[in-house]
């Protein structure tokens, strides 16, 4: 039996990130295809409870130490490298997120093994693996084969649905003693919360953006509710700012801010070049506009040709439903 497939579980501020389940679903498939075991590895402090929820894995290795309370790449990579040297997994899946990003680089360096980055999917092919990756900012897709194993794979969010990674099964949980380095040259002193009130739309991962199609400031509540549900903020086209619905700091476009959120929902925005210049690099763009010929649909990934005043309330309900 080949060595185990590892999924590095991501915990931050007391909870597991959704992406962990996505990786579990992906890891499950790889492990099954090559007849290997799927192991989730969790570093943290007081995380036994979290380990229990990783039921899709055959085994959860968890290292509990105050040193692992916060995700610091230097600390985690040393501990994981030591553990991996001992346990010899063949595939290590690491999520590409702000929390885990440092591991994506440090782990293969410490282990001296290949890295496969920006991966959307991995399949077992024969004895080996084949990864599908998005490179050049998503402009190209490659199929790539690691020449040797073990291999560390950086996996983009969305590779699988998180739901598929959840299981009610109780996994086998094994506490492991990962070495927590005394000193590694890097110390996390604390977190700085984003300043309330003064929202920087360039820093938001989700933006719900409103244009003239919103028709009035009175309807802003709709956008705000949706933004809050999605954990983002409300931004606007220039006319919406001109009309005083929102402050100038929320203006997206050529003469406002250039934004690159993970999700940009354009409500009642026509998609003038000056606006598009500011948001075209968003990872996912969903546009709602009554006019099916509006140029915004040329840059959006998904389009909804409906009246936003009717559609958004329905969407809000659905998102709420989904969340509960």
């Amino acid at each position: 039996m080949p060595g185990a497939v590892w999924v590095i579980a991501e915990q931050w501020r007391g909870g597991l990130s959704e992406v962990t389940y996505e990786l579990l679903a992906l890891g499950r498939q790889i492990a099954d295809d090559r007849g290997a075991a799927l192991e989730a590895v969790l570093l943290g402090s007081g995380v036994v409870g979290l380990a229990e929820s990783l039921g899709l894995a055959d085994r959860v290795l968890y290292a509990d130490s105050p040193a692992f309370a916060e995700p610091v790449g230097e600390v985690g990579s040393r501990a994981l490298a030591a553990l991996a040297t001992e346990r010899k997994p063949t595939v290590v899946l690491v999520p590409i997120t702000n929390v885990s990003w440092d591991l994506v680089g440090l782990l293969p360096a410490r282990l001296g093994v290949p890295l496969v980055n920006f991966c959307m999917d991995v399949a077992a092919v024969g004895d080996g693996l084949e990864a599908r990756c998005l490179v050049f900012g998503g402009k190209m897709e490659v199929r790539a084969v690691p020449e040797s194993e073990p291999v560390v794979i950086g996996v983009l969010p969305g590779a699988r649905r998180a739901d598929a990674g959840r299981s009610t099964k109780r996994p086998e949980v094994e506490p492991v003693a990962a070495p927590a380095p005394e000193t590694c040259g890097v110390r996390l002193l604390g977190y700085e919360e984003p300043e309330a009130g003064d929202i920087d739309i360039t820093q938001q991962e989700v933006l719900v953006s409103v244009g003239r199609g919103l028709q009035g400031q009175a309807n802003l509540d709709l956008a705000e509710e949706l933004a809050e549900l999605l954990g983002g903020a409300v931004s606007a086209s220039r006319p919406a700012v001109d009309m005083g619905w929102l402050p100038m700091t929320r203006q997206v476009g050529k003469s406002g801010m250039l934004v690159k959120p993970k999700l940009y929902i354009a409500l009642g925005i026509s998609g003038a070049p000056e606006h598009v210049e500011g948001m075209k690099d968003a990872a996912l763009i969903v546009a709602v506009n009554t006019d099916p010929g509006a140029p915004i649909f040329n840059v959006a990934h998904y389009g909804v040709a409906e009246d936003l005043l009717e559609f958004v309330p329905v969407l809000i309900d659905k998102v709420k439903e989904h969340k509960s």
Binding site: R212, R238, P239, D242, M248, Q251, K254, S255, G256, A272, P273, E274, P295
Partner: protein, 702 residues
Amino acid sequence: MIWAAEAGDPVSRPVFYSLPLWLTITFYVVAVATLVWFFYAVARKIRRYRSGRQDPADRPAWRRLPGALLGVFTNRNVLRDNWYAGLAHLAVFWGFVGLFVATILVLVDNDILHPLLPSWTFMKGDFYLVFSWLADFSGAILVVGLAMFVFRRAVLRPRQLRVEERDDVAFLKPRVVRWEDWAFLVLLLTAGLGGFFLEALRIRATNPSFEGVSFVGWLLSGWLGDTGVTASGADTTFGYLWVFHALSAMALIAFIPTSKAWHMLAGWYSLAVKPARIGDMPPAVPTAGGGYGRLEDLSRGELAILEACIRCGRCHVECPAAEGGFPLSPRDLILALQVSARRLLPGLRPAPGTTATAPALAGEVIPASWLWSCTSCLACDEVCPLGIQHLPLILQMRRDLVARGEVSDRIQDTLTNVMRYGNSLGQSPRNRARWVKELPFEVKDARKEPVEYLWFVGDYASFDPRAQAVTLAAARVFHAAGLDFGILYEAEQNTGTDVRRIGEEGLFEMQRDKNLQALAKAQFRKILTTDPHSYHALTREYGSLNGNGGVPVLHHTEVLAGLLESGRLCIVAPLRGDVTYHDPCYLGRYGRVFDAPRRVLTALGAPLHEMPRNRERAFCCGAGGGRIWMEDVPGVKERPAESRVREAAGLKGVGTLVVACPKDLVMFRDALKTTGLEEVLAVRDIVELVEDAIGATQRSEA
């Protein structure tokens, strides 16, 4: 001093009439002190000017002097935009000149000839009568003109005279400005009225019958008599009034070199060195950044010209930035530079700050936000009655900001785009001519085959989807007219004229060279462009292009006018609906092409209504000078484009605002949205109207 002649002649009058000796002596002492002060102040000024950079452009071109003189004497610049202020100024100007000449004559007669050769005095007989009449006339128009000014300032209070408090520059104090404005008027008025009363008292006291020619003094003395002033009373009052009058005249003289009254002298100079053609990019200067980084980098002439500003505020109200509520006002810029130069540059004594601690010019003395507000529309340079050139100063200061890397993110993006892709929009240069694919015919590649017209398309017209529609229409119209034209395809690049106005001279040179290389490889007889900014670059900034045999460069409106008038394009459906036309800055004020577009509209049969601000006084759309690339500025009241579409919409019955520049199209269409005028007004390029009028695919023979 008062006008006078030798006593003894019946037709003449005594100087220092009934003054005690000590007063006469005091008068001379005060007069000498005033003159000393005057020349000291002037010397200090000149010393300050001399801390500026030496520049050959500071020397007046003698050939243009007659024109400049004519301008000064007719006051035509002052009359041009405001007849009220113009007439008032004309009156004060000639009144002052008259009295000045009169004073000089008296001086010569009384203080030079009389002591030397008493028999040579000329203030007598008929000469004296004519002299008296003219002097009175001068005084009269002076007082009337001044009264008009006082009325305007006190009652009419036009907003262009208001200098607002600003917290972003040092030294510029509206209170001081206002005080000085009034002081100038009051001093002049005091001098004028004082002279008349003095004359009246003298006439009342001596009552010579010939003095009827001094008509004001005569009338006034009659009135004095009526109110009960006796001859002897007049005699005693005269002395006191004379002292007062003399002091007020001295005060005026002393006031001149320290106030805006100095424009009486600096204005001549300013008009004499005003460039024959405005709007040229000022050449780079030998400073670290090629622009103006310190006050001393201004040329000596420019330092002098700053003091010619009379604060008429014409530039202030014509400026789209100032009108829109952007931080810049060209008038305040001149005033801020002027007062800063007085404070910071050494006069006869060293300036308080050494050069090491002196504040940077761009960004400190003048806030960067002012400089970046300018659209380079040239309205200020065009309108200033004193020929002050604001824009070159702004551009020189921008140069310094760019050299120091102090540019906003968005400008930086744009400059990088131009450098990398050859267009300001950051698009792949390979897509530059993609629009031709939408045409049912081929567009020639001028790099590969000879054409008569090389069409220089420009960035916006090539890449912006809204402007592309117009570009396609233009192509169809040219095709319909049977024009032999081609384009440079990917070899065309941003002309660099706008990045030059941002202050990036090096990038401009790079772009110019690339375009000139591309043009050199193409075969054509004339250049045609649909973009006024490119038009400007090709006609005025690509020197060697016109140097080598002089290729004609035409704006499409010029070509269209010719085609329509010669019948190569036939109108099948004359336009219906009244239109108005917006002069693009770079075609109008810069290129002086005002008539061609109007000729086109006439040929199309479109009733043209002019907006209040038209031709040389057209109001900028707000896109020029790189502003189209910059972030919005907080606190702006009304964007220039919004003001402009409101102006157009205010014309009764006009449903179409006709433009002839791709940037105007974008700016005004956007402004229609933000002003809610979409239902009232349409914005269309002139070539779209031509296409409508000639019928879609018609092709006529000449």
